[in-house]
Amino acid sequence: MRYLPLTEEDRKDMLSVIGAKSVDDFYQDVPEVARLDGQVPDLPDHMTEFQVERHLTKLAAKNTTASDSAFFVGCGAYKHHVPASVDHIIQRSEFLTTYTPYQPEIAQGTLQTLFEFQTQVAELTAMDVANASMYDGSTGCGEAALMACRATRRKKVILSGGLHPHYAEVTRTVCDAQGIEVVQLPVGVDDELALADAVDDDTACVIGQSPNIFGTVTDLSAVAEAAHEKKALFVSVFTEAVALGLVPPPGEMGADIAVGEGQSIGNSLNFGGPYVGLFACTQKLMRQMPGRLCGETVDADGKRGFVLTLSTREQHIRRDKATSNICTNSGLCTLAFTSHMTLLGGTGLKQLAEINHEKACQLADGLESIKGVEILTPRFFNEFAFRVPISAYDALQELLDRDVVGGVRVSRLFPEEPDLSNVIIATATECTSDEDIALYVDSLKDIIG
């Protein structure tokens, strides 16, 4: 067995040092009924490296990848280019095969990158402080709702009708368990500002998204003002981190907590995970934050170094009184994010955002030229909703036959909204070529007929 270094002779020698007859001696505490006669039944024995590789490669080959099709799917996960050096850096043994930096003397590599990551996220979101990441944007959104309830000592959360429905569901799940009331505003393409009217004296926070699930970009400053007037918090959500190179970031709109998905920067699509949740807030709320935090300090020689800090918020100290049960962050995905961001810089990020926006405008221009197609999103960054004169499901299936993965049908996200059953949300990024756009437009024209 290629991963097991002990030889039969080693095992015998070790048993004799221990004073045991066989390894069975170590399992004497296992109840009689649970003892197996040999190995677990109905499962195959070990395979060679090339057998495993062959099997998995065959499964992988059955899937249509974003790179070998004209690809327009977004809604919370985005196909962006990841520089080769980023994937190289995250495969460095010293980053890949290390643990949470509990021993800072021998983990400054991880800790310094986390400190740089937190600085980058704070700047990107225009917030005071950021944590060392959450599992993903959706779980971060749920944690933000709980944090707002802790900070305000209120038990009501209001979600916009443009919040990613999966984020809304995760938030409902975590709030429900703590007896927090969740108010969901009606689904709407351009209704984020309705949050301002919904906030009342019992509200812990309002959660709005820009760009929202339909791609609509909104200046949410009015929502923040309305929330603050009622001493509630404003949680500003984004699912496309690249957008923040161009659209108003949470901090500029008066957000108390910013939470979003960081997958777009440095991380592959990975069929839904692992991703990296970005989480930032105002200085005032810092001690209410969930998750790991990295902070600056000095060592015994007075040299600058970094450590995990404010751990008195956390489960290993506070146990059932902790701000969250979270233990793991999204370590390696933060490294992918921060190393890609280090290459981009503010200048590169803005250029990247501009290209994304332009590609989406090009796509919208093309689709709009098709008779019967109507663009629904009034202001967008790199994705938008549009109506087709046939069912969105059929349109996407037929597009797939022509190697166009055309987007997400809204009925998959909002099955309870029959009026939206012929609406598609399509996304373009820097990876979208002019040929991809032409193929999409020509194919859809042909399908609609």
Partner: protein
């Protein structure tokens, strides 16, 4: 070609009088000084080449960011050097033994990395049409099948993103089951051993339960008398959260009886599967009477820890809890001619079904990147190899316990499972667990888990895993034996360790007192002064 040594000294000069400590650059040979990325002058630059925009009319409607993002952009050579230099300040499994108890730092096979990067897995989107991702769905199904057979459980929820998230999934399923029984308002009490990992009580609280602590007996197992006394009233019992093998590295001898007591009380049994690696392939948790258990793919099935995640915590459920697994649920859709593996995201997607999911735990269906790695690992081992994995892990831990029990104080009598636990009783006055841990750093090892579990004074929890050779174990034991002897003698030098790490001990108190969580530009006058 032979090396030309003419005129060049080929042996070090005798230079005892020369001190080599301080350098001009701040570097120490291979250990390069590396500032923060913000301490560069590349604030206006970028290290990526992007195509030019064409000037297509914007559709942002004037809603734009006021202040541009101010972050430096490093060229590729600068960036690569930055991260490689930083990497050299990290300890890693690939460098040596990383015996963090309960964390299971085993070798991460590189085949797993290669497979996870196949475009067919890494470059597909969670919302693509199902027809275009059947291979990915099949892979998840295969992994599910392995996990169910290895645990002998009824169903598995794949979406939890980490161990604590899996705990959350299991406890929420229990809550949902109680709701279905109409008892969620009365059954709030969850029993949690004092030795439990902090995530257990934190999770229970996050699910709205009240934590009731149970003690450990002299053998390091659940104190059955205490448990029975906590079950004198049963109508408020939601369940128990119990780690098995437990955090003391011991198998809970009375686990079947515990399961029966909890079930008789009307509660459910959540098993924390953090230590499944000690029994995988040899014992099936389903045979022990549990109702839910998360499996840390990053522990038992070797997906890399990556400096603190990403993890993955699929959660297996008993028949009693299966109907409450979270969305999305994998189903077969035959409505379009062929059988497609698809995900049901809502009740509408499952007409006629009586499932009552707890809701959704995360945006998509889980950590695919970890699923691929775990399946590659599982297939590489097979049922025969996984059994060997557990046995070797337990053998290695017992070997360490046997070799060190003469100089250190084992916390409990008898054999251990996959980790050896010692208390600080053997140390001289003034020497603490942390001093022993930090001294291991100088010996080239990552410290063991320290001060956990809380039920053992100055706990030192050592988990070697199955991927250490006997030679490496011997070197480790030699080193720790030497340190333990110094600790027993009260050698004050231990207090200053580590001496040869990239940094000396760091001041955590200062970090917490006035937290500095990001870099800020120095004030202009301060810059002028420097």
């Amino acid at each position: 070609m032979t090396m030309n040594t003419t005129g060049r000294p080929t042996a070090p000069a005798h230079a005892d009088h020369i001190s080599g400590d301080a350098t001009i650059s701040g570097s120490k040979g291979l250990l390069q000084h590396e500032p923060l990325i913000f301490e560069t002058d590349r604030w206006a630059e970028t290290g990526v080449d992007l195509p030019k925009t064409k000037g297509v009319k914007s559709r942002l409607g004037g809603v734009t960011r006021k202040a541009d993002v101010q972050l430096p952009g490093l060229s590729e050579p600068e960036a690569v050097r930055h991260y490689v230099r930083l990497s050299q300040r990290n300890y890693a499994i690939d460098l040596g033994m990383f015996p963090l108890g309960s964390c299971t730092m085993k070798h991460n096979p590189r085949l797993n990395e290669k497979m996870a990067r196949l475009p067919g897995f890494a470059d597909i989107h969670p919302l693509q049409p199902f027809r275009s991702i059947q291979g990915a769905m099949e892979l998840i199904k295969e992994l599910e099948d392995w996990l169910l057979k290895l645990t002998n459980m009824h169903s598995v929820a794949m979406s939890p993103k980490a161990g604590a998230h899996g705990e959350y999934c299991g406890m929420m399923a229990i809550r949902q089951a109680l709701i279905a029984r109409g008892e969620s308002e009365t059954r709030k009490r969850v029993l949690v051993p004092a030795s439990a990992h902090g995530t257990n009580p934190a999770t229970a609280a996050q699910c709205g339960f009240i934590v009731d602590e149970i003690g450990a007996d002299k053998r390091g197992r659940v104190d059955m008398d205490d448990l029975r006394s906590k079950l004198e009233t049963t109508d408020d019992i939601a369940g128990i959260m119990l780690t098995n093998p437990n955090t003391c590295g011991l198998f809970e001898t009375d686990i079947r009886e515990i399961a029966d007591l909890i079930h008789d009380a009307g509660g459910y049994f959540y098993c924390d599967g953090a230590n499944f690696n000690a029994i995988v392939g040899r014992v099936r948790p389903g045979d022990l009477g549990i109702d839910a258990m998360h499996i840390n793919l990053h522990k038992t099935f070797s997906t890399p820890h990556g400096g603190g995640g990403p993890g993955s915590g699929p959660t297996v459920l008993s028949e009693a809890l299966s109907g409450f697994a979270p969305w999305p649920l994998m189903v077969v859709d035959s409505s379009h001619g062929t059988d497609l593996l698809t995900y049901a995201d809502h009740q509408d997607d499952m007409p006629g079904s009586d499932v009552q999911p707890v809701g959704r735990l995360t945006a998509f269906q889980g950590q695919m990147g970890m699923f691929v790695r775990a399946l590659a690992y599982i297939m590489s081992h097979g049922a025969d190899g996984l059994k060997q994995v557990a046995e070797d892990a337990v053998l290695n831990a017992n070997y360490i316990q046997a070799r060190l029990k003469h100089v250190m104080t084992p916390a409990f009598d008898g054999f251990c499972m996959h980790e050896a636990l010692f208390s600080d009783k053997f140390t001289a006055e003034g020497i603490e667990t942390i001093d022993i841990a930090k001294s291991l750093i100088d010996e080239g090892y990552h410290p063991m888990t320290m001060y956990f579990p809380l039920v053992v004074h100055g706990a030192m929890l050592i988990e070697p895993t199955e991927t250490e050779s006997k030679a490496e174990l011997d070197r480790f034991c030699d080193a720790l034996e030497g340190i333990a002897k110094k600790a027993a003698e009260g050698d004050p030098r231990l207090k200053g360790a580590p001496y040869s790490a990239p940094m000396r001990r760091l001041d955590e108190t200062q970090a917490a007192r006035k937290p500095v969580l990001k870099w800020t530009a120095p004030e202009p006058d301060q810059m002028a002064a420097e």
